[in-house]
């Protein structure tokens, strides 16, 4: 996967993501956008797969957007089993849905993700509705997580997360980070639109054979949310 959080030249926060996964053809056919309604109002909107109740991509209007990128770390089998038995752990996709349902803003979302023990590790990319509200949480199952925040005043107006810790270099065999960064810099902070972000998400390697869908969101303007199923 590739997820990007960013702030444009006017201070508006945007979020772009490609979801790459195995079972690609199956998942393309199952991709749906769902508006979760509460009291006849949209509580949160997600992109998911029919029959999958968790969430890997979602937006709470006027609050925050969130996506998950896979993190491959360590042994999992025993931890998952023990965690489930002890009922202390949450599947990551359930945590994202709970966060969309319960957290009222960017700060609350970060806190909820940061403090919850999860079955799997992952990269949680969160974008808020106000200036400066963008971060990548590199989440361990338990213990300390790394929170990498946007810092536009010092030139870090976007952050690209694929499937590797941001403080390391991705392997040459799977370097989607470099083309994404190059494409973001080429677009520039002054030229962020839904269409220009779809161009970034269509950059070769960023868009690849495992990409099932692309999404652009801006929590301050939830109506801009656009989803496309990809057939590269």
């Amino acid at each position: 996967c590739t997820s990007i959080t960013m702030q444009d030249a006017h201070g508006q926060i945007w979020h772009a993501r490609n979801l790459d996964y195995s079972f690609t053809d199956i998942l393309r056919n199952l991709t749906v956008r769902i508006d979760f309604m509460k009291n006849k109002q949209v509580s949160y909107s997600v992109v998911t797969y029919a029959g999958y109740v968790g969430v890997l991509t979602g937006q709470r209007p006027h609050a925050f957007a969130i996506t998950l990128d896979e993190r491959d770390q360590g042994a999992w089998y025993d931890n998952l089993l023990v965690a489930l038995l002890e009922r202390k752990v949450k599947p990551v996709s359930f945590l994202i849905r709970d966060t969309l349902a319960q957290a009222k803003d960017f700060t609350a979302a970060l806190e909820m993700i940061n403090s919850t023990v999860t079955a799997a590790e992952g990269y949680f990319i969160v974008s808020g509705a106000n200036k400066g509200e963008g971060a990548v949480i590199t989440k361990n199952r338990v213990g300390h997580n790394d929170i990498w925040r946007l810092d536009p005043t010092n030139g870090r107006w976007f952050e690209v997360e694929t499937n590797y810790d941001h403080w390391t270099s991705p392997p040459a065999s799977d370097n989607r980070r470099a083309p994404a960064i190059k494409s973001m810099n080429s677009m520039g902070q002054n030229n962020i639109t839904v269409d220009s972000l779809f161009n970034v998400l269509s950059t070769p390697l960023v868009l690849n054979k495992k990409t099932t869908y692309s999404v652009v969101m801006s929590p301050a303007q939830p109506e801009l949310m656009k989803v496309l199923v990809r057939h590269p």
């Binding site: 029959g51 089993l81 009922r87 359930f94 692309s214």
Partner: protein
């Protein structure tokens, strides 16, 4: 690229019925897909899904337990299969 279908899920409905309209529409493809996914995931993951399904209400929180039960019922599929595909990230990410 194509735009995906858009649905609403009403959180004011009981969890067991709130996905019914989507599953009815995708019934066959969900069933076929689950069969493919089940055949391709590592064999050692299947017992985990079946273990969770066997103690479903104690291991999964609400509303997810009832939502998954409703999906299994609507799709006429086993809880084990529904659990497997819903937890596929957590049990296969590594």
């Amino acid at each position: 690229p194509t735009a995906p279908p858009v649905f609403q899920v009403d959180l004011d409905l009981q969890p067991s019925v709130r996905w019914g309209h989507i599953i009815q529409k995708y019934h066959q493809i969900v069933k076929d897909s689950h069969a493919v996914i089940r055949s391709k995931v590592p064999e050692k993951l299947i017992p985990i899904a079946e273990f969770i399904a066997a103690d479903f209400d104690n291991l999964l929180e609400q509303p997810y337990a009832d939502e998954l039960r409703g999906i299994a019922l609507t799709a006429n599929m086993s809880l084990g299969d529904i659990v497997l595909t819903n937890l596929v990230y957590d049990i296969s990410a590594f």
